[in-house]
């Protein structure tokens, strides 16, 4: 149970050379299979385009190569990957605990609202305090919003799948109320908040691009939560609860507390993503600030096999696909919705190639 990472069957030889070889094979598999899966998804996308009168080759030449052409487009991809990585990493923790948090979208909005409230409030604060303050506000709000679902699960055994979906809708509707009402920019007729104070903006790290410190924070947190999950006893407890809550209870682990930890981490990460979106990108709160990052984050985590380090890469891949689909529409007038098809195909191909076996293996009877 301790060694969840290595469940793939392997030769039981004790020979060191053999071990090294099997390790190499495993690493090769771990890389080759997802690459093959992504290629298959792209080929399917290309075929779909060709069948419908577009140039199928565009999937490769525009979608993948086109977006990597210069510093700015790469910076934009990294920028897009920030919320995906953060949400993906948070969900890795929740999913490892078998908490099906479908509510990252709502938690992102909660974080964005809190970051906005804080970000317009304190004039004259130094960025050294203000920037972290905005980040903490977003993360706390996201954690609190997810915490509602956690409490309902722990105390009322209410399914978090249902409650987090409901909380998504409530957060979106609440945001709509706030930007048309109390938080609306007094100087404008539009449903948007006032602009966040300059001192609250996320510092940019690669001017003149928009890339901000969020990418560093996201990567650092991914590593931190990898360590938490796989190298700390607290993370071990979270995983044990995820594998078998009853056994965990029998072993003296406080199941409710671990559920709360896992769901609040995932909510906090989504809330932080929301804070980065308003303080790093849009600088105002709008009715719609997320094109569904919260839902895409689910796929990011799952594609990474619920491994926070892997989520850095799967988040990056999804950001490339999203940027690429925008570019495809601009250059080849391919409907942008193609991105959903390709993302869906990526997941299915990964599954078909047997890369994603962890949960199945741990839970089959």
């Amino acid at each position: 149970m301790a060694n969840i990472e290595n469940e793939r069957p392997r030769a039981a030889d004790t020979d060191i050379m053999g071990n090294a070889m099997s390790m190499l094979v495993r690493i090769a598999q771990a890389i080759a299979l997802p690459v093959a899966a992504v290629l298959v998804a792209l080929i399917c996308g290309g075929i779909l385009l060709s069948l419908n009168g577009f140039n199928g080759w565009d999937v490769f030449s525009v979608m993948i190569v086109g977006v990597l052409q210069d510093t700015r487009s790469i910076a934009e991809i990294l920028l897009k990957s920030i919320p995906l990585i953060l949400i993906g990493v948070g969900l890795c923790v929740a999913f490892r605990c078998s908490i099906w948090n479908i509510g990252a979208e709502g938690q992102l909005y909660a974080g964005a609202v809190a970051a906005t409230i804080v970000g317009v409030a304190f004039e004259g604060l130094t960025p050294w305090i203000y920037v972290p303050l905005v980040m903490v506000a977003g993360a706390l709000a996201g954690a609190a919003w997810a915490g509602i679902a956690g409490l309902l699960k722990v105390y009322f055994r209410a399914s978090e799948i249902v409650t987090t979906i409901m909380l998504n809708y409530i957060a979106l509707i609440g945001t709509s109320y706030l930007v048309t009402g109390p938080l609306r920019d007094a100087a404008s007729a539009y449903p948007q908040s006032a602009r966040l104070l300059k001192e609250a903006w996320m510092p940019r790290i690669l001017p003149p691009t928009r890339l901000h410190i969020g990418i560093l924070v996201a990567v650092a947190l991914a590593i931190a939560f990898y360590v938490f999950l796989f190298r700390s006893s607290a993370g071990y407890a979270v995983r044990v609860v995820g594998i078998n809550a009853n056994a965990a209870r029998y072993a003296g682990i406080n199941v409710g507390r671990n559920i709360m930890i896992a769901i609040c981490i995932s909510g906090g990460m989504a809330g932080l993503a929301g804070a980065f979106e308003v303080a790093g990108v849009t600088r105002r709160l709008y009715q719609n600030i997320s094109p569904g990052y919260g839902f895409e984050g689910i796929a990011v985590a799952l594609l990474a096999n619920n491994n926070p380090i892997g989520a850095i890469f799967s988040g990056g891949l999804f950001a490339i696909l999203r940027s690429g689909s925008e570019l495809m529409q601009i250059t080849a007038q391919v409907p942008q919705v193609l991105v959903s098809v390709i993302q869906g195909m990526v997941i299915l191909s990964v599954v078909a190639f047997g890369v994603y076996r962890f949960r199945s293996a741990s839970r089959s009877q």
Binding site: A30, I31, P34, V35, A37, V38, L39, W57, D58, F60, S61, V62, I64, V65, G66, L68, Q69, R72, E76, L79, K80, I173, S176, T180, A189, Y190, P191, Q192, R195, P208, R210, E277, V281, T282, R284, Y286, Q287, N288, I289, S290, P291, L303, A304, N305, I309, G310, F313, S314, G316, L317, I320, E326, L327, Q329, I330, T331, A332, Q333, P335, Q336
Partner: protein, 326 residues
Amino acid sequence: MKFSRRTCLAALAGLTMAGATGPALADDFKMGLLVPGSVAEEGWNRIAYDALLRVEKELGADISYVELHENPSAFENAFRNYASQGYDVVLGHGFQFQDAALTVAADFPDTTFLISSSHVFDGNVIGLNTDSSEPFYLMGVIAAMTGKSAGLVGGLEIPPIKQSFEGFINGARSVDPNFPISQVYVGSFTDSTAAKEAAVGMIARGANIVVPNANAAGLGVVQAAREAGPDVQTFSVYSDYTEAAPENTLGVYVADYGQGIVRIVSQIKDGSFEAAGNIVFGLKDTDVMMFSYNDHSARSVPDDVRRKVEEVKNGIIAGEIATRAD
């Protein structure tokens, strides 16, 4: 799971030789469009797309558009994409594009940024406002003169929609201060089912004129009118979809945004464009904003009402009637 980088490298190695799509020649006149939703749907996004197609046809421009689905974080990048590719004009179709355009505009002085439904006027960023409160005012007059009560079904509570409803209400109240009007926002531009039920409810409570302003979801309202029979009427707004309910459509308000855009873009193209402020299209721009009647309606608007509407229309054009506050 280090596949994304590997994939990219493999794709780069294998495909750079195939070549990405080449950029268009630098001296072509180019126009780009950013829309916040799908150009496939009736209504707001479609009018911008139609405008773009007209610019292509009538001015021979190279065109391109991108749908950003209410995703403000992508706006700035999209503007920059177009501007850095040498686009001469970029139209952001909605007030929410304003901030992003202002941020980008300074870096691209040779590009003109047009923003729909906005009052901005700042260097090369120019707001274009289609004041829908004016035609909706006319619809309100017609509703109050020919109907018992009216219902308005909106998508989200955003300024273009709020203003149009304000115009409708002011128009109706100018005829009958007690004319009953109810409003519902369905909270979505895609949920035609909810929009239809909202209209069905209004009709059940006596409304015999229901008017949508909810893009694709608005078709649900038209469907509700159609099912309710000839007594219940609606208007086709922004684009002409009379065909969806020919007997239940009193009139058609078409915003030929294309005409307005073509006018301005052609001035930009030949260098004669000089803006003194943001641009507002209203009923005075008879080539842009058209209101017409549907004679196939089961309750076709009678001539005396049409005469009155014509008077009101002239009053609005002359600036004697304010269709909304501010």
